[in-house]
């Protein structure tokens, strides 16, 4: 529809120009293509598959012991006990195994900071000015990053959000990907997923720009951020009026387009912010300018304001136990995730790391155990919401993936044991119903172009 829209708009422009000499009527507004790098992802074929007799976490907090999961036509068909085997379906014995929705990582730099970590491939921070909302992470993603395959095979990651880095107050647009190897980033893009805007507060921007013209302080960070939003509001007013009334097209600004999208509620804000006091300031700032923060990322101090985050409906994307690597992470505690969950706020386990993304289930297990020791009762199946259901909520795609409800995308992991154990690995991973990793089948281990013809090609990793 949008594609057609661009063509129609061009036609209207031609008509308007042609009619200009005879009638003084206002020119109708040109429609801007909001999705010029659109997804070309098409799901791969998958056999109708029935996994029988596994322990099933449905992703929304439900659990089924000795449950059956049927996937076909790219979607989840049924999750019940004792399902009939449909004609021609592949049957997999799930006894002693677990089935969950695929893990969704809301914070990854795969492709933008790929392996090998050499300068030529370091494309995650446009650290040339503190406000670069004009850059789009997808334009940096190298689809051949071997990290994608590790996240799939070892981590059971089926969907992930690639964010620009946090050097900038406005880091640019994020992109949500299906973790399916492709020749182009467009071939990985999650169809129809809303864009995100990466913002950052705290130490990183002031450290990066302290000697490059500022901001050099936290107050400078906030002042710059507010000044940019003031411009964005004016831009939005101008463009809203233009699109409503037509007339002379205002000058287009890529960064402002993104911020206008945020103010219109179409683009979701992912705010890198560690400290509780700074999160509270960012919340007020968001209210001041009329946008919503979808999630705070690296929110190591969320536990100090979990009540506020619950009230505001803001997710916290957190590590289980990272702390102390800089001042703003000095107060990290191992109960953070559980405390946030317990306050009724949205808790997400994220990685920000090409290694950590391979073990998010184990990270959740640590956080869960620490929470229980602190007296918070959370079941395993409810804790799984931190991995597969809350993340797509923060990405605006929870209606399509993240839980095993009939009709949703068959992004599914069969684990060879309890996924909250360090002794467990993905046995099989399906994305949109296509079997893309099978631990028993060496032909189903993706090998990136970079690794082809190199030592260790096709090895278990």
């Amino acid at each position: 529809m949008i594609k057609g829209g661009a063509l129609i708009a061009a036609g209207l422009l031609a008509a308007a120009v042609a009619g200009c000499a005879t009638a003084p009527a206002k020119k109708p507004a040109i429609r801007i293509d909001e999705d010029p790098y659109r997804s070309t992802y098409v799901r791969y074929p998958g056999a109708a598959t029935l996994i029988r007799g596994a322990t099933v976490y449905d992703g929304e907090g439900g659990r089924l012991d000795r449950g059956d999961v049927l996937i076909a036509d790219g979607v989840v068909k049924a999750v019940e006990a004792n399902l009939m085997v449909p004609d021609g379906a592949t049957v997999i014995d799930g006894a002693g195994k677990f089935v969950t929705p695929g893990i969704i990582d809301v914070h990854s730099h795969l492709g933008d900071y790929p392996s090998p970590g050499v300068a030529s491939l370091s494309d995650g921070n446009e650290a040339t000015a503190p406000a670069r909302p004009d850059v789009w992470a997808e334009h940096s993603v190298w689809p051949q990053d071997p990290g994608f395959s590790r996240a799939l095979a070892n981590g059971g990651i089926t969907v992930l959000q690639i964010l620009p880095g946090s050097a900038n107050l406005f880091g640019g647009r994020s992109v949500t990907l299906k973790n399916v190897p492709a020749r182009t980033v467009q071939g990985m893009k999650f169809p129809g997923a809303p864009y995100g805007l990466k913002m950052a507060c705290g130490e990183n921007p002031k450290r990066v720009y302290g000697n490059k013209g500022g901001p050099s302080t936290r107050m400078g960070n906030i002042a710059t951020t507010r000044a940019v939003w003031i411009k964005a509001q004016a831009y939005k007013r101008k463009w809203d009026a233009y699109q409503k009334n037509g007339g002379e097209m205002p000058e287009r600004d890529l960064g402002m387009d993104t911020l206008r999208g945020v103010l219109a509620g179409k683009i979701l804000v992912h705010n890198h912010c560690y400290r509780a006091d700074e999160m509270a300031i960012m919340i007020d700032l968001a209210h001041e300018f009329g946008y919503k923060i979808t999630a705070f990322h690296h929110a190591v101090e969320s536990y100090k304001i979990a009540d506020l985050l619950a009230k505001e409906g803001i997710c916290s994307a957190m590590w289980s136990d990272w702390w102390g690597f800089k001042m703003e992470s000095f107060d990290g505690i191992k109960e953070n995730i559980s405390f946030v969950h317990n306050a009724g706020a949205c808790a997400i386990v994220h990685s920000d790391d090409a290694n950590g993304i391979q073990r998010l289930n184990q990270e959740a297990a640590k956080a869960l155990a620490d929470g229980r020791r602190a007296g918070i009762a959370i079941s395993d199946e409810v804790a799984w919401t931190w991995l597969s259901y809350n993340p797509p909520k923060a990405l605006g795609i929870a209606d399509r993936t993240g839980s095993l409800k009939p009709g949703k995308m068959a992004d599914v992991v069969l684990w060879n044991g309890n996924p909250f154990s360090n002794y467990t690995r993905p046995d099989k991973v399906w994305i949109d119903g296509a079997l893309l990793y099978d631990s028993a089948n060496p032909r189903l281990r993706p090998v990136s172009d970079f690794e082809l013809g190199q030592p260790g090609e096709g090895d278990t990793k």
Binding site: S115, P116, G117, V118, P146, G147, R150, N154, E203, Y303, K304, I305, A306, D307, D321, W322, W323, G324, F325, K326, M327, F330, D331, G332, I333, K334, E335, F339, A354, N355, Q358, R359, Q362, E363, A365, K366, L368, A369, D370, R373, A374, N416, G417, F420, S421, N422, Y423, T424, R425, S439, A440, P442, F450, E451, Q454, P455, G456, D459, T460, K461
Partner: protein, 460 residues
């Protein structure tokens, strides 16, 4: 008066005379590679292990009894390669990092004086069952990083188990960078350093006949070379030297085989260069650090007898020296007969040593993945306890529950290789350790966010 007070403090810091602690009823894993045994007993007397296992053990009547029923008991974790205690905050916190130095010295640098036993990083790792750590300096201006120590994580002001236990040198990608941009240059620098050390060796005290055996545990293998006769006026040197006298003198014990030489290399070809070096200089007590591509030349490492301190779960071609990275590296090297322990090499080495048990668990997990090579549970635990100690010749002192080892014992809520388990009681040298940290105090302060009569700052 002053002297009496000091004596009193010393006594109170040491384990009480003839104190015996008996931990019974738990699942005991010795840390020596053997599998865990239910219903085991561990006996610590005067700060040392005197017995451990599930056979009948005679228990003194005045012993302190600890019931570990339903729990697991292991030696404390020995972090195989770390920068623990050198850095309070890693980034942007002036004055809190002591892990590298761009001053004039390299090999002479000794990390021991930089260790802060009150660092929160030590407390947090102690609370998670890490009782000892191998601490290496970071290379700064030279391929030689300096001399590393073995420390304990006890809540006292004496962190050093052994100062100057090893010299640490970079000879892979980082070494090339430090040497001006090529591995070839790094190798020449390295050989020249040995030449300069050899020149000074003539003035060194003769190596004692006890070489190869464990020295008196209370005695460091290497006395501070800065105080030795190597730096005195009689020890003459050639004019064409690159190292300072202190740095050259510090390498004499390496050359004599009195001090371990930990070499960081990852690439298969770099590993083979080290094996060749060992043939050329048989006295060197070489230990490979990293060895991500070790599995591709595992039989040759095994034949050389050189131990490896490896990253457990490196599986990304994070650099061009790690192209063949796989989590099976450790298992495959072990299967080939290489002595392997686990360290945190370029991996959150200042504060996340507690992740070593997660990594060890992951190596066990590989056993269930077709095509992967895992390790047994007992071996996985050994790789973060006794094998770490053995890599630097301290297996007789720490890292297992064998009789005579230091009384470093942890009681866990469950299987220690599971992330869901936690350390519940920790002893170091037989001294029960506090497990409270900044983190547990923050947790308790903010457990309940309800407004009270006074602000949160009054809760502690």
């Amino acid at each position: 008066m002053k002297r009496a007070l000091l004596a009193l403090l010393l006594v109170s810091a040491a384990p009480a005379a003839a104190e015996t602690i008996v931990i019974s009823g738990g699942t005991v894993a010795l840390g020596d590679g053997s599998e865990p045994m239910p219903g085991g007993t561990v006996v610590i007397t005067n700060g040392r292990i005197v017995a451990a296992g599930n056979r009948a053990i005679r228990i003194p009547t005045d012993a302190t009894m600890v019931d570990a029923s339903g729990k697991w008991v292991t030696p404390g974790i020995v972090a195989g390669f770390s920068r623990l205690g050198l850095s309070e905050v890693d980034l942007g916190a002036d004055g809190t990092t002591d892990d590298s130095a761009s001053g004039p010295f390299s090999a002479a640098i000794d990390v021991a004086p930089a260790i802060n036993p009150l660092s929160s990083t030590i407390a947090v790792n102690r609370a998670d069952g890490v009782t000892r750590a191998i601490v290496a300096p970071n290379a700064a201006r030279n391929i030689f990083a300096g001399q590393g120590a073995v420390i304990d994580t006890g809540a006292d002001m004496d962190p050093i188990t052994r100062a100057r236990r090893f010299q640490f040198v970079e000879l892979g990608e980082t070494g090339a960078d430090k040497a001006g941009g090529s591995r070839a240059s790094a190798h020449v620098l390295f050989r020249n350093a040995l030449r300069e050390a050899a020149e000074l060796r003539r003035f060194a005290a003769p190596v004692s006949s006890s070489r190869g055996r464990e020295a008196d545990p209370g005695e460091p293998i290497v006395r501070d070379p800065n105080e030795s006769r190597l730096t005195g006026p009689d020890a003459r040197r050639s004019d064409d030297v690159l190292l300072t006298r202190f740095d050259a003198a510090a390498l004499v014990p390496v050359l004599q085989g009195r001090q371990y030489l930990l070499v960081h290399v990852e690439r298969a070809s770099d590993i083979l260069q080290m094996i060749a070096l060992k043939r050329e200089f048989p006295a060197l007590k070489l230990v490979l650090v990293g060895a991500t591509e070790g599995w591709t030349v595992a039989d040759r490492i095994a034949a050389s007898g050189i131990p490896v301190i490896a990253s457990a779960v490196n599986d990304l071609p994070a650099s061009f020296e790690m192209i063949a990275a796989t989590q099976s590296n450790v298992g495959r090297m072990l299967a080939a007969g290489v002595k392997v322990s686990i360290g945190m090499i370029d991996d959150n080495d200042t504060r996340y040593l507690f992740n070593e048990r997660q990594y060890a668990g992951n190596l066990v997990a590989l056993g269930k993945v077709p095509g992967s090579t895992g390790v047994s549970w007992g071996e996985a635990l050994a790789m973060i306890t006794s094998r770490s100690a053995e890599a630097i010749g301290m297996g007789g002192e720490i890292g297992s529950l064998a009789a005579g080892r230091r009384g470093d014992v942890v009681i866990w809520s469950g299987d220690p290789l599971e992330g869901s388990s936690a350390a519940e009681m920790v002893w170091i040298d037989g001294v029960r350790q506090p497990l409270e940290t900044r983190q547990t105090k923050l947790r308790d302060r903010y457990r309940d966010l309800q407004r009270r009569d006074l602000p949160e700052a009054y809760r502690r």
